[in-house]
């Protein structure tokens, strides 16, 4: 490592920095050597700006957040200087504060919101206690403070009394995250550091929270440092964006500049690897290689191993910050920043190929009738009451309520929807892991639950069905047995279903599959335990394990959402390739419309939109993305962040009237979406829309009165207030 420095001091707009970070370095002494997880970073945070920091996991971005509060965990050592300049009063050198001053500084001046809102609250204490104890330990007036808390909570579109009186586990993920934002603002800080504040939430909630952050920032006069791995998400929000790679900034500039004239090869590759709705799927490419180990960062430019432009100069000389363009506020740490746009174009010669690819997508063969057919499936769960309602009727959660769907051979259906809308439950029902409380699930015409109970007519066994319908879970880490080597885990399905193979045959088959999915040398991987694999590798093993059963249908429950953005495209490509090879169908579950679109478009499949246990729209990705009929699909479309290379955020008003999904124990009458729908009219509150043909395109159906031009809906008065 040479003396690299990413200094951005000559920024002409830099007139009123609220925080100045100079040469911040965080070191950890490890057995393998010293590890620098933040490498000599200097940056000014301007007052009242939203500053976005983007990087892959393990790029040091969370360490930057901890450094701002001088909260680097032991045994990490933070060097450099961090100066905080309050609106009035003397600048504060944060690293020189004593224990008591630091306690005051944190949360009163700079507060922080973490990714793990799920676990940021003490599980045994009510929400209001969290607010009160924060106020009292900082000697604030509690009554006044709680008044502010109520205001904050209702500014975040929640009911203050209900939230304050709840235990953390009683709130949904999105509500917890918003409550954590309220808690971080309770002492009226000037600076808010948000470390992946929305990563664990689904897209609609992410977008809603991001637009709330803008409102909150104006109202409470905040400076926000927003850290994320998701470039499109922050693109809409931030004034400036800095890209982190290998524990330092490699490019920084105003958001529009970064999007339009990204000059560092890494930034350009990152932009290209992000699934989105606008660019053609062929333009999305994964970044080769992986992020460097903090103990062993490559010499010279840390990106040179993965960079298509790298030459000897990059190996030897760590690039300084080169100014890009005339504004002087855009800098990139690359010797060849001028050549990058040409070498890595954002839009490739895709037109001819692109159309070709879509035409050649295999698509389902519908001739033989459906492979799995679900008819009017309902799954209702009963919910336990508290101790006092010992004898009252338990509430029923209508997780799935009357969905019909046919899945054909070589078919791909992607279910999208918010968390808690029943898409996973429906998926499990489709592969026979969840027994429906009503309706039927048929595999090749045979009701599988009848088959299980009665044994059927002998033409098919439940075991065969079980084998034909497989699942790949969201979290590969917990889906693999932690105490079994990869090879042992993969052998099990072969032993069970291919008893004619001997040990050597099994091994060679596993080795060839592992190599096929890019895990080479396979002999080495076979003897590893799951914790010795990366997330992407674990997911591959889980996928191979499912494939070895030679299934007809695989339920893939959010298979890529646990992976870094730059790895998602690669994983999805692999799944598509395996589909063609093994001749299976997929039922994907995803909350991300751009992932759904990528898979469905590449395979000629369909996208189904699920809301509160109902299938509200289904169709080919072209229709769902470009011609969505149901207002809920339109809301999901809005929530999917767009990279707008032409500049200017897409933004727009939120198309949902309520941020939170209604309680599934008591779903709204009529059309279930009417409580949030911007187009809702009186008839929607009483009458339930049935799915009907939504456009001229094949297989496009939506459950909304607006698709029927003659429906009484058009005469009915609107129920939206605004």
């Amino acid at each position: 490592m040479t003396t690299s420095q990413s200094t951005y001091l000559d920024d002409p707009t830099a007139n009123d920095p609220v925080m100045e970070i100079r040469n911040a370095t965080v070191r950890f002494g490890m057995e393998r050597g010293e590890s620098r997880v933040l490498d000599d970073v200097s940056i000014d945070l301007e007052r009242n700006e939203i500053f976005g920091v983007v990087g892959e996991s393990g790029s040091g971005k969370s360490m930057l957040a901890s450094a701002l509060l001088d909260a680097v965990v032991e045994p990490g050592v933070l060097d450099g200087s961090i100066t905080y300049r309050p609106q009035s009063g003397e600048p504060v050198d944060v690293l020189e504060l004593n224990k008591n001053e630091l306690r005051q500084f944190r949360w009163e001046e700079v507060a922080m919101v973490f990714q793990g809102a799920m676990s940021s609250f003490n599980p045994v204490r009510k929400i209001d206690t969290h607010f009160i104890e924060t106020l009292t330990s900082h000697d604030y007036d509690v009554d006044e403070g709680m008044e502010r808390a109520r205001q904050l909570i209702s500014d975040l579109y929640m009911d203050p009394e209900r939230v304050l009186d709840s235990y953390p586990h009683e709130l949904s993920g999105g509500m917890k995250q918003r409550t954590l934002i309220a808690l971080s603002l309770i002492l009226e800080p000037d600076v808010l550091v948000m470390d992946e504040p929305t990563a664990a939430l689904d897209l609609l909630m992410q977008r809603s929270i991001v637009s709330l952050i803008e409102e909150i920032k104006e109202e409470y006069d905040l400076t926000i440092l927003f850290i994320t791995h998701d470039l499109p998400l922050v693109a809409d929000l931030a004034d400036r964006i800095a890209v982190m790679y290998a524990f330092e900034f490699i490019e920084l500039g105003p958001t529009a500049e970064i999007l339009q004239h990204a000059s560092h090869p890494y930034t350009r590759l990152l932009l290209k690897s992000t699934p989105n709705l606008a660019s053609p799927i062929e333009a999305m490419r994964p970044i080769e290689g992986s992020a460097p180990d903090p103990v062993n960062v490559p010499s010279g430019c840390s990106f040179h191993l993965r960079c298509p432009l790298a030459d000897e100069q990059c190996v030897d000389v760590d690039p300084r910050a080169y100014p890009v363009g005339d504004g002087g506020d855009h800098v990139a740490n690359c010797h060849y920043w001028e050549d990058a746009p040409e070498t890595i174009p954002m839009t490739e010669e895709w037109d001819v190929e692109g159309i070709d690819a879509i035409d050649s997508a295999p698509g389902p063969s519908r001739a033989d009738g459906p492979l799995v057919s679900l008819e009017d499936v309902e799954v209702h769960f009963e919910k336990e009451g508290g101790f006092l309602d010992f004898f009252s009727d338990p509430d029923t959660v209508q997780a799935v309520d009357g969905i019909s769907l046919d899945i054909y051979e070589n078919d791909v259906v992607v279910l999208v929807g918010e968390s808690g809308c029943g898409k996973t439950t429906f998926g499990k029902t489709a592969v026979g892991l969840q027994e429906p409380t009503a309706g039927s699930v048929k595999y090749k015409g045979q009701d599988i639950w009848d088959l299980k109970r009665t044994g059927g007519d002998g033409s098919m066994s439940f075991d065969a069905v079980r084998r034909a319908l497989q699942i790949v879970h969201q979290d590969p880490g917990s889906a693999l047995n932690a105490h079994r080597r990869v090879g042992t885990s993969l052998e099990v399905p072969l032993k069970r279903w291919n008893p004619e193979l001997d040990g050597n045959d099994r091994k060679s088959r596993i080795v060839s599959l592992l190599e096929h999915v890019g895990m080479a040398p396979a002999e080495d991987y076979i003897d590893r335990y799951p914790h010795q694999l990366s997330g992407g590798e674990q997911q591959r093993v889980a996928l191979i394990r499912a494939m070895l059963m030679n299934p007809d249908l695989i339920l893939a429950d959010e298979p890529v959402s646990a992976l870094d953005v730059s790895l998602r495209v690669e994983m999805m490509d692999l799944m598509i390739e395996l589909q063609e090879q093994f001749d299976t169908s997929y039922l994907f579950v995803s909350h991300d419309l751009s992932n759904a679109r990528y898979i469905a478009e590449k395979t000629g499949g369909r996208i189904g939109v699920v809301y509160l246990g109902e299938l509200v729209e289904i169709g080919r990705p072209e229709e769902i993305i470009h011609d969505p009929q149901h207002p809920y699909t339109q809301a999901l479309r809005w929530a999917t962040p767009e990279l707008d290379f032409e500049g200017g955020g897409m933004g727009g008003e939120s198309p949902v009237r309520n941020i939170d999904v209604p309680d599934p124990t008591n779903p709204p009458s009529g059309c279930r979406y009417h409580t949030r729908c911007p187009e809702a009219r009186e008839v929607c509150t009483t009458e339930h829309p049935e799915p009907r043909e939504a456009s001229a395109a094949d297989f496009h159906e939506a459950a909304c009165f607006r698709t029927d031009e003659r429906h009484e809906y058009w005469q009915s008065p609107s129920i939206t207030d605004d």
């Binding site: 507060a111 104890e133 101790f387 997780a399």
Partner: protein
């Protein structure tokens, strides 16, 4: 689909266990090798009673009429057991229920103190070990805890007896109350009782070893939790953090361990009270066993089971009150 609330299910489970125990005790009386009833009849007849008189006595003492058909006898046995009539002790000639009632408080006295002290020590030591995880104190205390956890309590009891009583004469070697002191609520008597209970209580402190290891693990887990980090950043005082955040969350899982250990200790009291000649429930049962006093044995058997089942039931019912998250099966992942 009708599902029954888990509380109702849990109550039914408890009731089933109690019923099963009563039934087993009935079957044992009937079928015990050597035929307990037959043996009683014979022994009465040998004492020169008429067969009719002997049968009457047996019926009175065991609440079982040897001549009635088994189903009728079974129903009557259950009915009288539920009424609290456990028969009459053969050896002592007094109602079993009264004998048990007189002995139970002494056992409960020793048990509650041992549980309280051993968990108090276990939790404090465990918290200390977690706080200095990996340090010398942690290593030392962990070895101590493992030693405590591996010594059977009766071995410790005998060691205590040898040293604290016979060699050094610090504590009495047996008995449950001072002699020659008027019974009642006076200082000498209460002190004497505590004095006599001390060694049995200390012997049970082996339980603190396991408890402290459990507490250590829980605390280390809590210390790494996200909410602790947020609490520190929010500037909460160390006192609030250690009591309301670490201790509260780390102690929660100990609650179940504690109530389960009550059951174990009841069983252990038989040996313990024999070693210390402490006249409680355990010793009573031990003597009943020696004298083939079936009615008393079965009565004690039923009583201990009911006590353990009840504690576990209370534990289950109150856990949701101690931990707000445990409101039955959470259906968060639908």
């Amino acid at each position: 689909m009708v599902t029954i609330g888990w509380r109702t299910r849990r109550l039914a489970q408890a009731a089933f266990t109690v019923w099963a125990v009563i039934t087993i005790s009935f079957v044992l009386i009937r079928l015990m090798p050597g035929n307990a009833m037959g043996a009683m009849m014979v022994s009465f007849e040998q004492q020169g009673m008429s067969p009719a008189r002997a049968r009457e006595l047996v019926e009175l003492r065991l609440s079982v009429d040897p001549n009635k058909p088994i189903p009728v006898a079974y129903v009557e046995y259950i009915a009288s057991t539920l009424r609290g009539d456990l028969g009459t002790s053969m050896a002592q000639g007094e109602p079993v229920a009264e004998l048990l009632a007189a002995a139970l408080p002494w056992t409960l006295f020793v048990l509650s103190w041992s549980i309280f002290i051993s968990f108090f020590i276990g939790i404090s030591v465990g918290a200390l070990m977690a706080y200095w995880e990996g340090g010398k104190l942690d290593v030392g205390l962990t070895s101590w805890a493992i030693l405590m956890g591996s010594i059977p309590f009766y071995v410790l009891a005998i060691l205590l007896l040898i040293f604290a009583s016979y060699r050094w004469g610090l504590f009495p070697s047996g008995g449950r109350q001072p002699t020659g002191v008027p019974q009642g609520f006076n200082v000498t008597y209460v002190r004497g009782i505590l004095y006599h209970a001390a060694l049995p209580v200390f012997s049970m402190l082996v339980a603190s070893g396991v408890a402290s290891l459990g507490m250590r693990g829980n605390s280390i887990r809590v210390l790494g939790a996200d909410y602790l980090r947020v609490a520190r950043l929010r500037g909460l005082s160390d006192y609030t953090i250690s009591t309301q955040y670490v201790a509260r969350n780390a102690v929660l899982p100990m609650y179940t361990t504690l109530l389960i250990s009550i059951g174990e200790m009841f069983g252990g009291s038989i040996v313990l009270e024999y070693v210390f000649n402490y006249r409680g429930l355990g010793l009573l049962l031990f003597e009943a066993y020696n004298q083939r006093d079936y009615a008393l044995m079965m009565g004690g058997f039923v009583l201990i089971t009911v006590a353990v089942v009840t504690t576990l039931f209370i534990a289950d019912m109150t856990y949701s009150w101690v931990d707000p998250r445990a409101g039955g099966q959470d259906s968060e992942s639908y």
